[in-house]
Amino acid sequence: MINLFYNELIKALYKRRTYISFILITLLIPVVVYAIDYGAVSLETKIYGQMQDSFIFIGSIINGYLSAYLIIAILITHMPFLSTIIPSEIISGEYSKGTFRIYLTRAILRRNVFISKVLVVFLYTTLMMFYFFSFSLFVSYLILGDGELIVFHRGILLLSEDDIIWRFFLGFVFSNLVMITVSSLCLFFSSFSKNSVTPIISTISIVFIGSAISFIPIDIFEMIDPYLFTGYIDIFLLAFHYPIPTNIFFNCFLVCFIWSSLFILAAYYNFTNRDILE
């Protein structure tokens, strides 16, 4: 099993596409942080808005934490696309290139091959999300320094420096859970597909439809939204509420766990029973 996992790691590490998401994050985040730094005055004015009539602000609210918070809040909705890069190809790629014809003729169980692939997908998604969060924080901190974090929840919520990092970590854990569900969905499509484009398009379409359901304020959509994993893509923001809405986090865990399990089980059944004809 360890050897199979190691093999899957080697296969992923030697592919250029594995690094696309990391390169994008590395290039994009410093640019955004510099843009926030450059437009700090304008940004502050927009954030303060009419509050300037009621409050006197001393110093700047623009710091590394706010920058990281804004970057993650904005970019998190785009992370499902990046999280499909590896799972889209991990099974379908081997079908289409015919490498299963050699790999699966060895004395190994398909079940173990599947498990090793799932582990690599989970590892990739987690590493990518961790890099996204940590790099956002690191670069923002490096350029804009630290300070208190101002967020909007039932008015203004000012979070002290020692009350911030754990919230980022909480946000990371649950955002990662949602992205793992997205990856599982993509893996499910990958187990059926003969190319790596179809799983990406299918997954993103479902995420798009799910997100639309979350945003459209119609009764029936609001009723089903808590049961869709797509409704939790921006759960990161809830980590900065006071008090933490634990029931929503619990629901998120449950919904993501159930959907991930369903996707993985369906993919497993298909992978272990499918004839390798390509």
Binding site: F100, R101, I102, T105, N273, L277
Partner: protein, 288 residues
């Protein structure tokens, strides 16, 4: 017999790819499965390593019934199914390392098989830079990696140039001399003639009895050939000095010859004719 197949059947939805395949393979033979494209050769070969999951029938290995997808069919068998496919972004050595890791083979064996297929000097090159012939040889190397007793090769000469074919023939004969049993599929009668000690013919999901080229064929004078266009073939046989036409039944024609190399001579006389099956007089009763 080292390997025996009984009543192998495989359906793809409504299509019967293998209707009733039964034959056996002698130990240390080069066994040919001859058949036109679409005759079910590749489907049959994918059954053994479990690439095709849903099929029925029985497989006996060393006279012991083997369960479907039994690991012994992977542990003691080496496969090259259809065109050789590798992780093209990795080197040949890296590809073999991946396979060695899951076959419990140490790294020195990788160098041995690369040496055997004469690819040592290119082992660090990416497979994407390899010619088709080199990939085919690398395919043989991966099949030999865990030192299997039986090699299953699906059209090993396919796509190779004349030099590549000669290299492949030399390699396969060399493997036989090392005591291995080789089962290869081909649509080329010439491959069977040059390489095989025994063969069977696949057609429309059925197969003929196994025929030994070494013993049985060369002693007999009467042959039966199954062809697509019997009338045209009978004309050609009648015009030939080497063969005499005896009788025919449906697409089957019985001929007589004194030729020492019947298959080669038939290949020349019946050039451009589609031949489905060749058998000897000893099989005639069963045949009809």
């Amino acid at each position: 017999m080292i390997l025996e197949f009984k009543n192998i059947v495989k359906n793809y939805n409504q299509v019967e790819a293998l209707k009733d395949i039964s034959f056996s393979i002698p130990e240390n033979s080069i066994f040919g499965i001859l058949g036109a494209n679409g005759s079910g050769k590749s489907t049959f070969m994918k059954i053994l390593p479990g690439l095709i999951y849903d099929w029925s029938g029985k497989i006996f290995y060393k006279e012991k019934l083997i369960q479907k997808n039994d690991m012994i069919l992977k542990q003691e068998f080496g496969y090259l199914i259809e065109a050789p496919t590798f992780y093209e972004y990795l080197s040949a050595k890296k590809n073999l390392e991946i396979l060695a890791r899951i076959s419990n083979v140490n790294s020195s064996r990788i160098d041995e098989v690369l040496e055997l297929v004469e690819l040592s000097h290119r082992s660090k090159d990416k497979v994407s830079a390899y010619s088709y012939g080199m990939k085919q040889r690398l395919g043989i190397a991966q099949a030999l990696l865990h030192n299997p007793k039986i090699l299953i090769l699906d059209e090993p000469n396919n796509g190779l140039d004349p030099n590549g074919i000669n290299d492949m023939i030399r390699l396969i004969k060399n493997l036989k001399m090392q005591g291995k049993t080789i089962c290869l599929s081909t649509h080329n009668l010439k491959d069977v003639e040059e390489l095989c000690t025994d063969f069977t013919v696949f057609k429309d999901g059925y197969c003929s009895n196994s025929v030994s080229l070494n013993s049985q064929l060369n002693k007999s004078k009467k042959w039966i050939i199954t062809v697509k266009n019997p009338e045209l073939v009978i004309d050609k046989i009648n015009q030939s000095d080497e063969f005499s036409y005896i009788s025919s039944f449906n697409n089957n024609i019985i001929i007589e010859t004194n030729s020492k190399n019947t298959i080669k001579s038939l290949n020349v006389v019946l050039e451009n004719e589609e031949i489905y099956k060749i058998s000897k007089d000893s099989n005639l009763i069963e045949y009809f």
